[in-house]
Assembly symmetry: C2
Homo-oligomer: 412 residues x 2
Amino acid sequence: MSLIVQKFGGTSVGSVERIESVADKIASFRDQGHSVVVVVSAMSGETNRLTDLAQQVQQSPTPREMDVLLSTGEQVTTALLSMALIKRGLSAKSYNGRQVKIVTDSAHTKARIKHIDDQAIHADLAAGSVVVVAGFQGVDEEGNITTLGRGGSDTTAVALAAALKADECQIYTDVDGVYTTDPRVVDSAKRLNQITFEEMLEMASLGSKVLQIRSVEFAGKYQVPLRVLSSFVEGPGTLITLESDNNMETPAVSGIAFQRDEAKLTIKGIPDTPGVASKVLGPVSDANIEVDVIVQNAAADGTNDITFTVARNDLARAADVLENVKQELNAVEVLTDDAICKVSIVGVGMRSHAGVASKMFATLAELSINIQLITTSEIKVSVVLDEKYMELAVRGLHTAFGLDGEPVLAQA
Amino acid sequence: MSLIVQKFGGTSVGSVERIESVADKIASFRDQGHSVVVVVSAMSGETNRLTDLAQQVQQSPTPREMDVLLSTGEQVTTALLSMALIKRGLSAKSYNGRQVKIVTDSAHTKARIKHIDDQAIHADLAAGSVVVVAGFQGVDEEGNITTLGRGGSDTTAVALAAALKADECQIYTDVDGVYTTDPRVVDSAKRLNQITFEEMLEMASLGSKVLQIRSVEFAGKYQVPLRVLSSFVEGPGTLITLESDNNMETPAVSGIAFQRDEAKLTIKGIPDTPGVASKVLGPVSDANIEVDVIVQNAAADGTNDITFTVARNDLARAADVLENVKQELNAVEVLTDDAICKVSIVGVGMRSHAGVASKMFATLAELSINIQLITTSEIKVSVVLDEKYMELAVRGLHTAFGLDGEPVLAQA
């Protein structure tokens, strides 16, 4: 008899047939005696349909009205799923963000949850109802409808699980769990039974985008056990936990993440004085360009090089900014490279295993892959490589760190 | 500087282009210095789309969830129209039923408005905003979403106009006003500049269905001046008022209403004793069959005939009920006729003009049309005729009572 929060995304509820099949799944959980709170997204395609309508009216739609518009998508799904559950003889009731109520700040289209009033839901759960909640939306203190931004339904699910002190928060997606790396690149990639929040954050931000990163942060902060499963295939999925079960047994590396579409900029021959890094990177950030890897090398001659990476489609703008900086600092030159990638090994096991980084470098050396940049954190080592070596590097590292499993079927 | 409530139906907001044109209309009212509250329906087709989805899930959808589902349709329109107004440089804000708030009872899918809390709207109007309200919906005391039934947006508009003490409630439709009769039957039918609530009720219930009858009753009760206009054609429309301007000048008859699809039943030879009418009509009403005209004739021989009309598709069920009644009361026979129609002359002027009814009968006699039944009220005389004479009768009466105008263009 546990309390489970289950979240089904747009693809999982994309048609009446799929809503019926979600209802079957929920019914079987109820049969096992669990209490269930379900969070749903808009049916796939609906959010785009509404966004298109808005953009036909207003090129940059007024955020408050955009939220009024988009929030209807999830509300439609809650009603249809509740009907499907009631048809199965279950008691069920839909809730929109205001009815829960999920109180947010007033930052329309990207609101943050402030608190959740779970009184009404608790009463319905106690009465044996399945509670069906519209994801992605809330209400501000003045009663305006707000939304949490794309993918915000994951956040709704985790926040509800935290507020209700649920035993588990299950996120149903179109993949059956978190993999050691992308199975489209390495066909022997393995599903992980378990991964820590920290690892998941590194994996997600590095390109294994299974869950919205905010929801993972949220789950970590409130210690909500989070499970990623497939809506379409039976299986245990991947459990995301606070700490790995047993550090002794933990493999050094849990997964290999990678990121394409990166670009690299170097400004050479700047003075090696305090504050110079901020003089270079301040204007970049002022231009709203997100910087990823940053490496600074002081040369013996009292000058300095700074290299950093940005998303490839920000490269032109970033180069313009750097040209100005070059004039100002009397730097020697600005170099750019738009054919790079980033490959990372991720694992909490690194903390207790020595030599993980050097094993990575050795593996790449054996494959004759030149490393352009290196950055490290406590649970991650990232290298920047020539883009054309990406698959080769990922496969080599996957094997070297003992991650290969049976080849998996192609993922949807 | 008056306060106007304007209601636009589904056809008027059926596409982005039409929403833009509604926004133009509202902007021109604002330019004239009026305060404007706009009530909108769902975009045409949307309510059917949602109803279809629901019926794919549940043959008889749970009413509470049906309201959650359907109420999204109007909410979408409020957001899009607000965006269109903001694009025109106006201040505008959408409201759903809960945000207004429009408090109803809990009779899902056919809720009745209990009261309206207009505080928030007043504040926005005072600040110069156009207030855009989702029609058709409200919220019950427990915060559940309710809807007022099909056509309920008219009711929302009138109720808001009453609550806000608006100077006028304008209902924009696809016709440009109320006509002396249906222009599809009489091509010289004239648009009425003015009609009383009582006349409008008689016209509406008799088939000239321009406005939802509940909204007319509501407007009459709260003395809200109501105007029916076209969304597509400029013009003054028809003003519906409490009393006609000047009784001396009022024509005897304002319009000719008619109803097809009626059927007639007669039970002959029932005992002429007190309570016999209720013994006949009680079981009919118990079977949820709505009865229209009722005529009772006591014969000299101490027996009695009762004749009444019902909607044609209720005829078979009504006949079954009457057969049972016949057994019980030892009546002689039950006769049915499914080829009848009802034609009525309507006008508050009848109160001060003698001989209106006899002029009607004389007109029909001249046309050799046999009258089967006659009923009268203070402002209406109705006759039941053989269906095949309907057009002939309507045209003849339209001319006889001086209603003919210039032939109008075909109505949409």
